[in-house]
Symmetry: C2
């Protein structure tokens, strides 16, 4: 029976050493990881090449796999037919370029031809598609051994079809091909967005642009651009230039850049909706224009995060005069029919403390701050409407006197969205899509805005326009932005595009890994910046020990990282180990999946794969010790490596016991679980997640 | 004695297996590479942390290492004193940010203070530095345990000093520090450039910008921007808009972008000199303005590479009227005092065949095409001069009637530069700095414009202004541009900055590896894009077998790749294995260095390291076979892997023979060398370079 005591570690080492190969060998060749990686790679490669398992993401609404394949070679000839917006041409150009890069086949300017008769790939479009809410995005793709036919009502559907073709591309030793297939695809929700917060940390234009390319790859269609905050006013304002000049650290988008981004997005079928968050979250406005403030607080660009006092004054004419001019300029700059006015998290402190505001409320029978904000919103709505726009705002703006064409953006919970729908209001869901919270992709993937058991009626369901992944940027900057958005946003994109019954988490992870690699074609740095940041942190090229550690652990979820000392500010470097840890620790996820398979099948292959991963983790502490020996920046991860190694040691002992059919008592199980719990305590803002799998092993051993 | 026969490979495997560890183990753990990498990493880490070996690049002209160290922590306080241009402030800001990222210490806005008395790091500047040729770039850096003092005549020297400090940053387990030191540094040459050819392939603005940052890191000070070519006219021209509209595929720099790049460079102390290559290399001009042409050829943007017929007509008034307006616009746009007019490789065919031109030459006593180009150049010089600029051009423009303030840009050989100097003309050397030729860094590093045995007198030497690394872009594009420029350009930067006697190749490679990693701070993709491109090519995350192969081989040198079929065009994808192979194959370089050490010392450590590398290569063929099995894009590398494995097999046999003191006859040596020669034949535009080291092993075995 198992003795959980101080000899545990040694006993474990000995058992593993005897069971598989000598400790001598393990010590001599400390890098078993790659062997495992190789085994996985073979599995992945097999998947990539399997024609019976499509790697599409988001998965189309209707797919029929045929027989045969279309060979992709330098004889490819593409023709475009019908009435389409000119954006189709550059997209076909990029399609050809990506195909060429992947296949290494030169597909030159002659690939696109005008003569339909000679085409092997025909694109047919009925009418130009405006990039507005609810445009027709359907497409039909038919591939047989001689021909590709892509049909769409608007070229915007055709763009989606081009992405699907690139996801279908397969290869063998002779060449590249597409499987014979018939796809009829239509999105489940019309509003599929990504919000980029460019305020907490500024996100440079080129990063915004390659995120737009990535959005197009997974069929998202709304870029929600969060442009003003306590921590920065991030867009050039010609009417009130002190907004960007004094309200930012010099990092803001010029109007020229904004126009470029809008055009760039429109070319890819993506709307750009700006957000100017008022009356709260607006400290940066008041640095240049202190008259906007409701209180006597010193106005400054906030460097800390959280809620702050500065709030626009809703009782002064100056405020509305200002907003009238401001929105006139911004509504003209952004062609989208929606203007997002934020409206969230007004703490009301300045309003409470300002006697003039209190007097105003009394005089106008405004009972509380909520009602005062309703009063403010009505004024803002009037301004927005007069500029030809519809208003959108976070949950808090909702109240039933607003016109029905506004859109509620639910962030506090699905119930707010449902309440709004019950009252006849449209909404977009972001609760459950907060990708800044370091939650695994599966969590967001299963967050269906309209689950099978929704409380909404058919009519009410139509008011749920879709959802948005929200990338708040307190703990991300230009180096990690892509890594925090992708690949998890691909899972959200699928949730918003594909039918609700496409919800197999394991298959989603399989496809997401492939999609993630393809997303690199956009210039996205979500994979490559991780190694770069490890090199900087480790101060050497060989970052493998750190990678092994970080591939097994995850950043603390939710807002727990904000509890750290010293407090995070906009100037924190965000270059620590936790900044490279991923919300889906890849090796921990693998371990969990293989364990699941092993417990079902008791097969040797899974057993050996588990053993290899455990051996790698068992050696982690020693290898990380060497790596961090002379490196102050990495000292903090040593206890984390120690915990991982100790957990692996426990699992190394449990695994052969499961294999040989041994059992443990409930008491022993509790003892081990307590030990795991202790080892799983957060270190350096990261958490061990292998412990969950060990818990499953313990359960498997327990006398029933 | 050695029998070179068909049994060779088997015998070799057996010997290795017996000598070191069983073949079973090698097969079971095919990834020995990482073990070696780890061993190297320890060596590198040791170097990174060694205070007695400075990692400075370019190495300063005068260094005195002191005793003690300055601790870098959040108490750092920086003050700037004296008269300086405002560019100093943002540079100090970036300095603080980079320091913060590397150390993971938050150094916020309070780090920069105005009160000199409280500063721990004082920057003193005498006067603002104009970013023009020959500005004062000297700096003096004194660091003791309590204080950093950086003194410079202009802030441009101070910028160099900031880079030196970042290169001095060291760490241990307790924290970060700078060694006590006194550096007095001054550049050897005033003109230290990088030429970016944005024409053969367009290089987007953000790539140009991060290359400017990288230039600043290694103290280069001229960006030479090659903006017009047969394959594209890459800048917006307001006077003649058909130049960029019809002369490019839509990829060109707007004037707004050009202004941004100039300002970006100036902020970093870097001049931007444009080149408009005339009268040859000008096909793209004539697509929109066919009247400029000297012949009846169809005008088109060239997609092939090489020399082409279209040449400006030097006998028509239209040409000069055009150039007058054109240069007026461009001279106003670019503030630099130099305008580069190209002037190279005019094949003269259109001139020969045009009867009007021939008549003109006869009438004006112009004997040949050379003289006609002299005539043309004189006219252009007049235009350039009237716009307040000095003229620069490639070798071919040189002739002794030109004014002495022009600059000859030598590309054909150092002798052209010397000839010009002998006649009193200034020049800049690019011959030997052609980084497009896939030559190793050592080759460029030892290319001293003024070697100890120069034929030039002291006065003539002063006419050698410096040099430029030239990145012609036939075989590179946005994905590989950084990888082709860096890190080799750091070696050229050192050649142009440091004293001529700083020329130890091994130490250069050691420091270049460290500098290369630091260069990633600019956003440069020279390291990270390689893995991304391997993932795309391998269609899987585990690219290790391909990496092992590519780390041992090099692209064919010179212009040999242009001999391939199908011919390269501007539309070739440049996504093949050869596009990721490096001019300094890292593992082959390591093997050479370790072998050198082993042959000198016959030490076991080196012996084992060599063995590990050979084992890894011996397994390469098998591993690559698995990787390429279903991948048409990689089939071409299989014979290369086979050759590498066979070479390793030979070396695996030779190494124990050297160790045990065996000898071979001259005849046997020839046999082996012939075999190596056969295996070293180019495959897929790449070459085996391990063969050179094996040749050295054979020599070591030969009976003397």
């Amino acid at each position: 029976m198992l003795a959980v005591d101080s000899q545990f570690q040694l006993a474990n080492w000995q058992i593993v050493a005897l069971a598989h190969f000598s400790l001598y060998l393990v010590t001599k060749f400390p890098t078993m990881k790659k062997f495992i990686a190789l085994a996985f790679a073979i599995i992945i490669s097999a998947n990539l090449s399997a024609t019976n398992t499509l790697n599409l993401m988001p998965y189309p609404s209707n797919v029929k796999v045929g027989v045969g394949k279309f060979t992709v070679d330098r004889n490819l000839r593409i023709s475009m037919q019908g009435q389409y917006n000119s954006r189709l041409t550059p997209n076909v150009g990029r399609f050809v370029q990506r195909l060429s890069k992947r296949t290494t086949i030169t597909l030159d300017r002659d690939t696109i031809i005008s003569n339909q008769a000679n085409a092997t790939f025909e694109i047919k479009v009925n009418r130009p598609g405006p990039v507005t809410r609810g445009y027709d995005e359907r497409y039909r793709l038919v591939i047989d051994s001689t021909r590709i036919t892509l049909t769409a009502e608007t070229e915007l559907g055709a763009l989606h079809g081009l992405e699907t073709i690139l996801q279908l591309l397969d290869r063998n030793d002779k060449g590249f091909f597409l499987p014979a297939i018939e796809i009829n695809d239509t999105p489940r929700f019309a509003w599929r967005g990504l919000m980029i917060d460019a305020c907490r940390h500024f996100i440079p234009v080129d990063i915004v642009k390659h995120n737009i390319d990535a959005m197009a790859m997974v069929k998202l269609n709304v870029l929600h651009w969060h442009l003003s905050e306590d921590q920065g006013f991030r867009i050039e304002c010609k009417t009130f230039p002190k907004l960007h000049q004094m309200g930012s650290n010099g990092e803001y988008y010029t109007q020229q850049e904004v126009k470029e981004v809008i055009a760039y997005a429109a070319e890819r079928g993506i709307r750009v909706m700006p957000e100017f968050d008022i009356p709260g979250h607006a400290a940066a406005w008041m640095v240049g224009y202190p008259k906007l403030s409701s209180g006597p607080d010193t106005n400054r660009i906030e460097k800390y995060f959280g809620g702050f006092r500065p709030t626009l004054n809703p009782t002064e004419k100056y405020t509305y005069k200002f907003l009238k001019k401001f929105f006139k300029e911004m509504c003209a700059l952004f062609p989208d029919e929606y203007m997002h006015i934020g409206g969230d998290e007004n703490n009301g402190l300045q309003w409470n403390e300002n006697p003039k505001i209190q007097a105003f409320m009394k005089k106008n029978n405004i009972a509380n701050n909520n009602e005062l904000q309703v009063y403010f919103n009505a004024k803002v709505l009037d301004i927005i409407t007069k500029n030809g726009k519809k208003m959108m705002g976070w949950d808090e703006i909702f109240q039933p006197t607003l016109p029905k064409n506004i859109v509620i953006h639910s962030w506090r919970g699905r119930e707010y969205m449902e309440q709004a729908a019950k009252k006849g209001y449209q909404s977009v869901l972001s609760a459950g899509f907060y990708i800044d919270l370091f939650r695994p992709a599966s969590n967001h993937y299963l967050n269906d805005p309209l689950p099978a058991d929704t409380i909404l009626t058919d009519t009410e369901r139509k008011l749920i326009l879709g959802g948005e992944a929200t990338m708040w940027a307190e703990l991300t900057n230009y180096e990690t932005e892509d890594m925090r958005i992708w690949p998890r946003t691909a899972a959200i994109a699928e949730r918003l595009w594909s039918p609700g019954n496409i919800n197999d988490v394991d298959d989603m992870y399989r496809r997401m890994a492939i999609t993630s690699m393809q997303l690199e074609e956009t210039g996205l740095t979500h994979i490559k910046n991780r190694e770069m940041m490890m090199r900087r942190l480790c101060n050497t090229y060989d970052v493998e020990p750190l990678r092994i550690l970080l591939d097994a652990v995850e950043p603390r979820e939710g807002y727990k990282r904000h509890g750290s000392k010293p407090r995070y500010t906009t100037e924190s470097p965000l270059s620590r180990a936790v900044d490279i840890a991923l919300p889906d620790a890849p090796d921990a996820v693998n371990f969990r999946l293989i364990l699941k398979s092993y417990l079902q099948n008791r097969d040797q292959a899974s057993y050996l794969q588990l053993t290899e991963l455990l051996n790698q983790w068992a050696l982690c502490y020693g290898r990380v010790s060497n790596l961090v020996a002379n490196n102050a920046a990495l000292q903090e991860v040593l206890p984390l490596a120690s915990n991982l190694t100790q957990m692996a040691n426990i699992a190394q002992l449990l695994l052969p016991m499961i294999q040989s059919g041994k059992t443990i008592t409930a008491e022993e199980a509790t003892q081990i679980k307590d030990q795991i719990k202790e080892l799983a305590k957060p270190v350096a803002e990261m958490e061990e997640v292998v412990g969950e799998s060990i818990g499953i092993m313990v359960e498997a051993l327990k006398v029933k």
